[in-house]
């Protein structure tokens, strides 16, 4: 579903790229797709509306630079606006500028990940900043919640030379009492930070919201962190609003960023509370807590991949003149094996194929399907060797390569006749593919399956089943 949408999106951006300047109608159409993509990523509706109207304003009449296509220009505007909406590039650290013990209050819905996050933050502060952290659970609602935090504190304490400790559990105490006791112990025993983990509560539960407001009044926390599940749907906006109104949020922690949700809730959080996302949780282990990078989530929300990065990398590494020379030859239908060898060298310079694929929109899934294995690029090295063993005439007109020439080339390159056959077959496919790119752009290539064909061959590797043609001729 997401692949479909992000495919649709890049299709829209691609369609725009055929024009010299963007008309209002082009932008409106593109913005409709952007809006759908955002809603599909669970960005809250009011946030989507605001966002789209801002982007439209910036995109209409945007002059297109010679080097970048209009589609990419729009993609860049969208991407930049997303990053800005998420709080600008760069991470925002926790604010612990207060007289120790610095109180940190954790709030959120049931099951959003408050307790685990509390343990993670404690470990992080203890190991990175050598802070002494006291963890206190104010959750008197859920069975064994206090015990859960105590166990997490033990685990963190073991890993941080006893710098993390939990407040002893006293049965029968209410949340406000526990908060007072925690701060008192924090002061008397010289802790740097006191983390107050509260019970999960629904934003509509007035009694419980009043209770957490009371805790806040007593504790006067330096940070009040709202923990939000990255998978949250449209409800994120109600939650953020309610908690912000009741207790005043100073920061957001997005949990379960290791899922495959696109995390539109992150965008809603920032827009609604104005509070920055400070940390993200990405796993069940206590050290799975990271700083928040708006630029990464921006790409994820739109499913755009890292086009900008790819363009940068390409322009850094590709020999512009050489590429243009090859392109001209392709246009004239004179793409030969010398050009192919030159292309192989260029691909090699850009880095691994799968890292390039990862940067292409919609291709992430494809590389995931490979199970994280690196594609077998030895086939490209082999091709280079084979081409090196050809005469200049053979490279220019591969059609003349028949049986005896194949035997000689195979012997010269340390390969087999089948390998030579495979190369020739692939060269044929390649040049067809190159022509198609030329005619229809990247989209045509994907539709035509050229890239998949090459990928399949790399997955099978040389000599794999169905890898080549029988060595006729």
């Amino acid at each position: 579903m997401f692949e479909q949408l992000s495919g649709k999106l890049s299709g829209v951006f691609e369609g725009l790229s055929k024009r010299g300047a963007l008309s209002e109608a082009d932008v409106t159409e593109a913005m409709r797709e952007v809006r759908l993509a955002m809603l599909d990523a669970d960005v809250a509706l009011p946030v989507v509306r605001e966002f789209v109207s801002q982007v439209r304003e910036r995109a209409v009449g945007h002059e297109v630079l010679d080097s970048i296509s209009p589609g990419q220009a729009v993609a860049k505007i969208v991407n930049d606006a997303l990053i800005a909406a998420l709080g600008g590039a760069g991470a925002v650290p926790l604010n612990l500028e207060a007289v120790p013990p610095v109180p940190v209050l954790m709030v959120g819905l049931q099951g959003s990940g408050k307790t685990t996050t509390s343990g993670k933050i404690a470990l992080r502060l203890a190991t990175r900043e050598r802070k002494r952290v006291l963890l206190a659970s104010l959750d008197t609602q859920r069975p064994a919640a206090q015990l859960q935090l105590a166990q997490l504190a033990d685990q963190a304490g073991l890993r941080a030379q006893g710098l993390v400790v939990s407040l002893p559990i006293v049965a029968g105490q209410g949340p406000v009492e526990i908060a007072r006791r925690a701060l008192d112990v924090g002061r008397r025993e010289g802790y740097d930070v006191v983390i107050l983990d509260t019970a999960g509560r629904l934003s509509i539960d007035e009694a419980l919201m009043a209770e957490v407001a009371e805790v806040r009044k007593v504790a006067q926390p330096a940070e009040t962190l709202l923990v939000v599940d990255a998978m949250t749907g449209q409800d994120a906006v109600n939650t953020a609003k309610a908690f912000n109104e009741a207790v005043g949020i100073t920061g957001v922690v997005m949990s379960r960023m290791d899922g495959d949700a696109r995390g539109g809730a992150a965008l809603s959080m920032r827009a609604i509370t104005g509070a920055p996302i400070k940390l993200t949780g990405s796993g069940e282990k206590l050290d799975a807590l990271e700083e928040f990078h708006p630029e990464r989530v921006a790409g994820r929300i739109l499913g755009l991949g890292d086009i900008a990065g790819l363009v940068e990398r390409a322009s850094d590494t590709l020999d512009q003149e050489e590429s243009e020379r090859v392109a001209r030859k392709m246009m004239a239908g004179k793409f030969d094996l010398d050009d192919y060898a030159s292309q192989i060298r260029q691909i090699g310079k850009m880095g691994s194929i799968s890292s390039i694929l990862n940067m292409l929109p919609g291709m992430g899934k494809l590389t995931q399907a490979l199970g994280g294995k690196e594609l077998d690029t030895s086939i490209l090295t082999r091709h280079q060797a084979i081409i090196s063993s050809m005469t200049s005439k053979e490279r220019k007109t591969p059609d003349i390569i028949k049986a005896s020439r194949k035997k000689r080339i195979a012997a010269g390159s340390g390969t087999t006749v089948q390998d030579v056959n495979k190369l020739l077959k692939q060269f044929d496919d390649m040049s067809t593919m190159m022509k198609r790119i030329n005619k229809m752009g990247l989209k045509g290539l994907m539709r035509g399956g050229g890239m998949q064909g090459l990928m399949q061959q790399m997955q099978r590797g040389p000599g794999g089943p169905g890898g080549g043609q029988p060595p006729f001729g």
Binding site: M1, R35, L36, L39, D40, A41, D42, A44, L45, P46, R49, E50, L109, Q110, G111, S112, G113, T115, T116, G119, Q141, R142, P143, A144, A145, L147, Q148, L149, A150, Q151, L152, Q155, L202, S203, I204, D229, M231, T232, G233, Q234, D235, A236, N238, T239, A242, R256, D258, G259, D260, A261, R262, G264, A265, E284
Partner: protein, 320 residues
């Protein structure tokens, strides 16, 4: 039951009043349809269902003046139609002693609480229930289920923290079979559906318990949090593919979440929805009713018109 219904409706309609608020009375043109489509998607109904509803409106009412009541009626009918086939109550097969239920879901969806509530309901109905504390990973998860065991009187089979969940499940099926229990509820650690190794562990739990009882588990319940957005579709797809989920439980519907995702899921997978959770009490875990849910989702009669007017102002204020 009336209390339950109004609770469900209160929970659901809190934000869904907006359906009507888009246009209390307005000509149904392209821009109106677009607004309505937005609202449907924003209610987590999912793009497919939203666009089908829009097409129905376009075909029958395009260009007409419509009222909020008309919109509600059509929406409720359409949604109830999608939901009706999946409103299947959970009924353990009395032939099995025990009927083995494996409860799965992502972290924090409410598996343990759901198990506790189911145990209480069947316990009160005179069935003998046993539970397996299969979440051996999360801190204090075992203790959490043991508290439910004390509350309900159902024996809890538990191992050491970090012990093998599959072995524990096997032990649970064995003990419950020897005790001729009616129902065995097996808790599992929360896991994200995109973690291949953890999903494989679930498959292993099933393989291992089948060494004792080939027909187990007789039900696999996937617990979903109603606040989850479109990712729920992917969650259900993956869980279903790997471990043959037989039914859904949707929790936390008493919040402000619209729960429209239930409609999207029903449309996509047609998996039975056995229970919805609408509150903290054991009795708040209720069988799923398509009509009640559909009506709750689009808002009922009565004071709704008043709320619509209020809400319209509120929407204008925030949408900018």
């Amino acid at each position: 039951m009336a209390g339950f219904f109004s609770r469900l409706r209160d929970g659901l309609s809190r934000s869904t009043q907006k359906f009507g608020a888009v246009f209390t009375h307005r000509r149904l043109d392209d821009s109106a349809l677009e607004d309505l489509e937005d609202e449907l998607i924003a209610a987590d109904l999912g793009p497919a269902v939203a666009s089908r509803v829009i097409e129905e409106f376009r075909a029958t009412r395009f260009g007409r003046d419509v009222t909020a009541a008309e919109i509600r009626e059509t929406l409720a009918t359409e949604i109830a139609r999608v939901l009706a086939p999946v409103a299947v109550p959970f009924e353990p097969d009395p032939k099995h002693h025990p009927h083995v239920v494996l409860v799965v879901g992502v972290n924090g969806s409410g598996k343990t609480t759901t198990i506790g509530k189911i145990a209480r309901q069947f316990g009160e109905a005179g069935k003998s229930v046993m539970m397996v504390a299969g979440d051996t990973f999360r801190a204090a998860a075992v203790e959490q289920l043991q508290v439910w065991g004390q509350r309900t009187g159902a024996p809890v089979i538990a191992g050491k923290p970090g012990s093998d969940a599959a072995g524990l499940a096997y032990e649970g099926v064995k003990q419950a079979t020897e005790a001729r229990a009616d129902l065995l509820l097996i808790d599992t650690a929360g896991r994200l559906h995109n973690k291949g190794a953890l999903m494989e562990e679930l498959a292993k739990i099933i393989r291992v318990m089948r060494k004792f009882d080939e027909s187990a588990p007789h039900s696999v319940l996937l617990v979903l949090d109603a606040t989850v957005g479109q990712n729920a579709v992917e969650q259900v797809r993956v869980f279903r593919e790997l471990i043959n989920v037989t039914g859904l439980v949707v929790t936390k519907l008493d919040g402000s979440a619209r729960g429209g995702i239930v409609v999207a899921l029903a449309d996509a997978y047609k998996l039975p929805v056995h229970y919805v959770g609408v509150g903290e009490q054991a009795g708040d875990l209720r069988p799923f009713s398509a009509q009640d849910f559909a009506r709750g989702l689009v808002g009922g009669e009565g004071d709704l018109t008043v709320r619509l007017v209020d809400d319209e102002a509120a929407t204008d204020g925030t949408a900018g």
